[in-house]
């Protein structure tokens, strides 16, 4: 368990070092994810159900929502700033987010149908 957590933090740490040394516009944890992914391609046993790394990752990802709560609470302080800029910002957020969801899923579905990629159906 501790070894698995150390591995996750280690990947993030190397990722942080790499982005800073190379001046990349990508956050360290994203590089860490790429590194861990490459590692898992070489040693797939670590990702198997029941392996410590799979267990720790499973717990973290099952409660990903929790990890956004502190940052989410922080924005309530700035709610005034959103309203102060008039309805434009709020309308832009709502409409643009809905439009992005629809366009992304639509293009995915249509291109998948064109290249005959098997869908993973929702019931």
């Amino acid at each position: 368990m501790i070894a698995a957590l150390t591995l996750l933090l280690g990947c993030q740490l190397v990722g942080e070092a790499v982005t800073r040394l190379l001046g990349l516009p990508v956050p360290g944890p994203v590089i860490g994810m790429a590194l861990l992914f490459l590692g898992l391609r070489l040693r797939p046993a670590a990702a198997q159900e029941g392996a410590p790394l799979a267990t720790v990752a499973g717990v973290l990802l099952a409660h990903l929502s929790l990890l956004f709560v502190p940052a989410g609470t922080g924005i309530v302080r700035h709610a005034g700033a959103l309203i102060a800029h008039g309805p434009g910002l709020i309308v832009a957020l709502v409409v643009s987010t809905a439009l992005t969801l629809v366009v992304t899923a639509f293009v995915f579905v249509k291109v998948a149908a064109l290249v005959d990629s098997q869908p993973e159906q929702a019931p």
Binding site: F68, A98, T104
Partner: protein
């Protein structure tokens, strides 16, 4: 008899209010309540656990007059786990790699279309409402994960703290809207639904996707990572047009 007790309670509160233990525990407890509520309501999109927990905590902080900085002393331990959790996204990516490899073309097409839509529609609508330029620069990267978005905003003359607010608001909005929108449009492919959630609503959308389906979660994680890269390149180019 009551007076000394009250004094003791006050001393206790002074100690607790300044100690990270209290606000860490309150953060976890609030989330447990929010998650139970969300689960009891069959993960209804409006009963989003982030939304419920944030609303409860905001109320608690306001009633107890606790400054956010004091709260964050405790909550930072939870916030810190975002880093290792992001690295942990490698596991679902690895597990569903055969599916991902087969969907390279849909992924690339949806990535480009989604990233362009996110940036252009946001600044287009806001500009039409007369929102001034520095605010547009803060709004442009709203769909990507906070760390990348704040970096982009800084680079193009936006205000990173406003960007962080817009990013989190976008995440919550996207996580709430994704399921009803996908059902309304009849999109049943978990890959497409997850990819849209991660692209439009970064980590909070990804959290929603994992709640609904593991394949959706894996594709959301990919979308979040890729959109961060693409948006960092696109935003400076697109903003020149506005």
């Amino acid at each position: 008899m009551i007076a000394p007790d009250l004094a003791r309670v006050e001393t206790l509160w002074v100690y607790l209010a300044a100690d990270p233990l209290l606000w860490l525990t309150v953060t976890l407890a609030t989330y447990v309540v929010a998650d139970r509520l969300s689960s009891r309501l069959d993960r209804h999109p409006l009963a989003n656990p982030v939304l419920i927990a944030v609303a409860l905590l905001a109320a608690i902080l306001s009633v107890t007059r606790t400054p956010f900085e004091t709260y964050f002393q405790g909550a930072q331990f939870v916030h810190f786990l975002l880093g290792p959790a992001t690295a942990a996204l490698a596991l679902p990516l690895h597990r569903h790699w055969p599916l991902v490899r087969k969907a390279v073309l849909p992924i690339l097409a949806a990535l480009l279309a989604g990233a362009l839509t996110a940036v252009i529609s946001a600044i287009g609508i806001a500009a039409a409402f007369g929102v001034p330029q520095p605010i547009l620069a803060s709004l442009a990267p709203k769909s990507v994960t906070a760390a990348i978005a704040m970096g982009i905003a800084r680079e193009i003359g936006g205000e990173p703290s406003l960007t962080a607010t817009l990013v989190i608001a976008t995440g919550i909005l996207g996580a709430v809207m994704v399921t009803p929108l996908m059902i309304w449009l009849g999109f049943t492919d978990w890959r497409a639904r997850g990819f849209a959630a991660g692209l439009a609503a970064h980590g909070i959308g990804t959290a929603r996707a994992f709640q609904v389906n593991p394949v959706a979660g894996a594709f959301a994680g990919i979308a979040m990572g890729l959109n961060g890269l693409v948006t960092a390149v696109l935003v400076p180019l697109i903003l020149r047009l506005f």
